[in-house]
C-alpha cells in the first residue's frame, strides 16, 4: 500500500509537476510580486524598495492624465475595433458559406493578415500610410488618401483601427464559418417553406444559433483590442502627442523607459482588474443569449 502511494505521488509529480512549476514561477510569483511592488517606489535597479502604501494608486488617478488618456483611447479603440471586426468577420463568413466559385481562395486572402505578427504589420502599414496613401491620393485626387494619416490625432486613431480590423476580421470569419456550417439545413428549409424571407431566416434562426460563436468572437476581439501593444508600438508608437497610446504601451513606457517599476506595477494591477472584470461580465452577458439546438 505504501509503495502504491509513493508511485501515485511520483506520477503526480511527473504528469502535473512541470507545468505546475513553470506556471508558478512565470505567472503566480510575478503576479504576487507585482502586487507587492505596486505599493512601493521600486525603480527596478536598487535592492531596496520603499513601502509607499496607496500613493502610487492615488497618483495614477489624480496626477497622471497620460494614463487616464491611454485608458480612454483603449476603451474607444476597443468599442470600435470589436464592433467592426465582428461585423466584417460575420459578413465575410455569411457570404463565404454560400456556393461561390472562388470561395476557398477568398477565405485564404481574408485570413492571411492574421498570421503576420502585429509588430511587422505595423511597420508595413506605416509605409502604406506615409507613402502609399499619399501617392494614391496624388494619382486619384481623392482627399481621403491625402490626409496626414499618422500625423494628426483623429486620423492616427483611425489608422490603428483600420489595421486592426484588416488584421483580425479574417480570424473571426473562420470561427463564424464553422458555426454557420453547424446550423441545421433542415431548420432553414423549414422556415423557407413557411415563407420566411432571407432576412427573417438570418435574424430569427441563423443569428440565435451562432450565438456561441458570437461569445467566442467578442471575447477574442475584446481581449486583442484591450491588450493592444505590438501594432501600437510599431505603427504610431503612441503618437502623435501620446494620443494613440494604449494602456499596455503606457505601462511598458512607465516601467522600461522611465524606470518607475513601482508605479508601472500599480498600473499593471489596475489593468489586470479591468481586463478580468470585462471578461467576466462579457461572457456572462452573451452566455445568456445562447440557444441550444
Amino acid at each position: 500500500m505504501n509503495s502504491k502511494k509513493s508511485s501515485q505521488l511520483l506520477q503526480q509529480l511527473i504528469f502535473v509537476g512541470p507545468s505546475a512549476l513553470c506556471f508558478l514561477v512565470i505567472v503566480v510569483v510575478p503576479f504576487l510580486l507585482g502586487l507587492y511592488y505596486s505599493f512601493t517606489d521600486w525603480n527596478g535597479v536598487s535592492r531596496h524598495a520603499g513601502w509607499v502604501g496607496f500613493r502610487n494608486y492615488i497618483h495614477i488617478f489624480t496626477e497622471d492624465p497620460a494614463f487616464l488618456n491611454s485608458f480612454w483611447f483603449t476603451v474607444k479603440f476597443t468599442v470600435l475595433g470589436v464592433i467592426l471586426t465582428n461585423v466584417l468577420g460575420f459578413i465575410l463568413a455569411y457570404v463565404l458559406t454560400r456556393s461561390l466559385l472562388t470561395r476557398n481562395a477568398l477565405r485564404t486572402v481574408f485570413f492571411v493578415p492574421h498570421v503576420i505578427g502585429g509588430l511587422l504589420l505595423g511597420f508595413i502599414w506605416q509605409f502604406i500610410f506615409v507613402k502609399g496613401f499619399s501617392s494614391v491620393g496624388a494619382a486619384t485626387g481623392l482627399s481621403f488618401f491625402k490626409l496626414p494619416w499618422l500625423g494628426t490625432e483623429a486620423t492616427a486613431f483611425w489608422a490603428v483601427v483600420i489595421v486592426f480590423v484588416w488584421q483580425n476580421a479574417g480570424y473571426l470569419m473562420v470561427i463564424y464559418i464553422s458555426s454557420l456550417n453547424n446550423v441545421p439545413k433542415s431548420l432553414i428549409e423549414a422556415a423557407q417553406i413557411d415563407g420566411a424571407s432571407r432576412g427573417q431566416v438570418l435574424r430569427k434562426i441563423t443569428v440565435p444559433l451562432v450565438m456561441p460563436a458570437v461569445t467566442v468572437c467578442l471575447f477574442l476581439a475584446i481581449s486583442w483590442s484591450f491588450k493592444l501593444f505590438d501594432l501600437n508600438l510599431s505603427l504610431t508608437k503612441g503618437g502623435p502627442f501620446k494620443s494613440t497610446e494604449s494602456v499596455a504601451l503606457n505601462i511598458y513606457n512607465e516601467a522600461f523607459n522611465i524606470s518607475r517599476f513601482g508605479m508601472g506595477s500599480a498600473k499593471a494591477i489596475i489593468f489586470f482588474i479591468v481586463v478580468a472584470l470585462i471578461s467576466i461580465l462579457q461572457v456572462r452577458a452573451t452566455k445568456r443569449k445562447e440557444v441550444e439546438v
Binding site: 506520477q11 504528469f15 512565470i26 527596478g44 477565405r107 509605409f127 507613402k131 489586470f272
Partner: protein, 297 residues
Amino acid sequence: MMHTSTNTGTNRGTSPRAGARTSRGYRAKRLILELLMILLALVFLVPFYFLLVNSVKSFGDILTNSAGWPHAFLWNNYAQAWKITAFPKVFGNSLLIAVISNVLLALISSMAAYRMVRRDTVFNRLLFAGFVAAMVIPFQSIMIPLVKVVSTLGLMDTRTGLIICYLGFGAPLSVFLFHGFVKSVPREIEEAGRVDGCSTYGIFFRIVLPLMQPIIVTVIILNALWIWNDYLMPSLILQSPSRQTIPIATYAFFGQFTKQWDLALPALVLGITPIVIFFLAMQKYIIEGIAQGSVKG
C-alpha cells in the same frame, strides 16, 4: 456544439438550395456577389502589393513613384537587408525557440490535463481553477516582476529562460484545451490497456496521446502563431544581437534605419515570408485548428 465539421477544403458547390434555384436572376446575383468579394479581397491585398513592389525599388524611386511598377528591379536591396539583419541567424533563433517551446508546451500540458481529469483530487481541482483564472491575466500585468524573477534565476538573455517563460505563460490555455478533450476520452479504452499490463505511462503515451491528436494540432497551431509573432516577451528577456528573433531584429533594424525604406521593406518581406509560407502549406490544419479551439474555448 462538440463536433464541429469545419468544412473548409471540400466545397459544397452542389448544395440542395443552389441546385433547386438556378434561375437566371439568381445566378446573376451570385456573380455580382462573387465579383464584389473578389474586389474586397484585392483591397485586402493592396498592402502586400505596396510592400512587394517597393521592396525592389531604389530609394529615389520609392519616394517619387511608390504606387507604380519599379523603374528597375534592385534585387540587391534584398541582399543588403539579408546581410544587415543577419537573417539566417535570426530566422534560426525564431525557429529554435518556437519549435522547442511548442513541443514542450504540448507535452507538459497534455500530461497535466490528463492527470487532472483522471485524478480528481482537491489539489488538482484547485490547480485547474488557477489555470482557468490565469487565462485572463494580460502579459503586461506580470512583465515587470517577471524580468526580475528571470534575472534572479540567472536566465536573463538566454533562450532557455525565454522558453521557460513560454511554458509558464502558455500553460493555462493549453491545459484548458487539453482538459476539455480528455474528458471526452472514454475510460474503457484505458481499462483495456491496463488489463493488458500497460503502466500508467504506457497508457498515456501509447493509448491516450495518439487519441489526442486533433487537439494537439489545435494547441500547437495556436501556440505557434503566438510564439512566432511575439515581440514583447523576447524583447524583455533576450538582449544579445546573436540571440534575437525575427520580431526583435525587425524592431532594432527600424530603429537604426528609420525611413530608409529601400532597406526596411525588403527586411519586412523577409520577416513575413516564413510564417506566410507556413500558413499556406498548413492552411487546412490551421483553419480547422482555430475553429476547433474556439469551440472548445
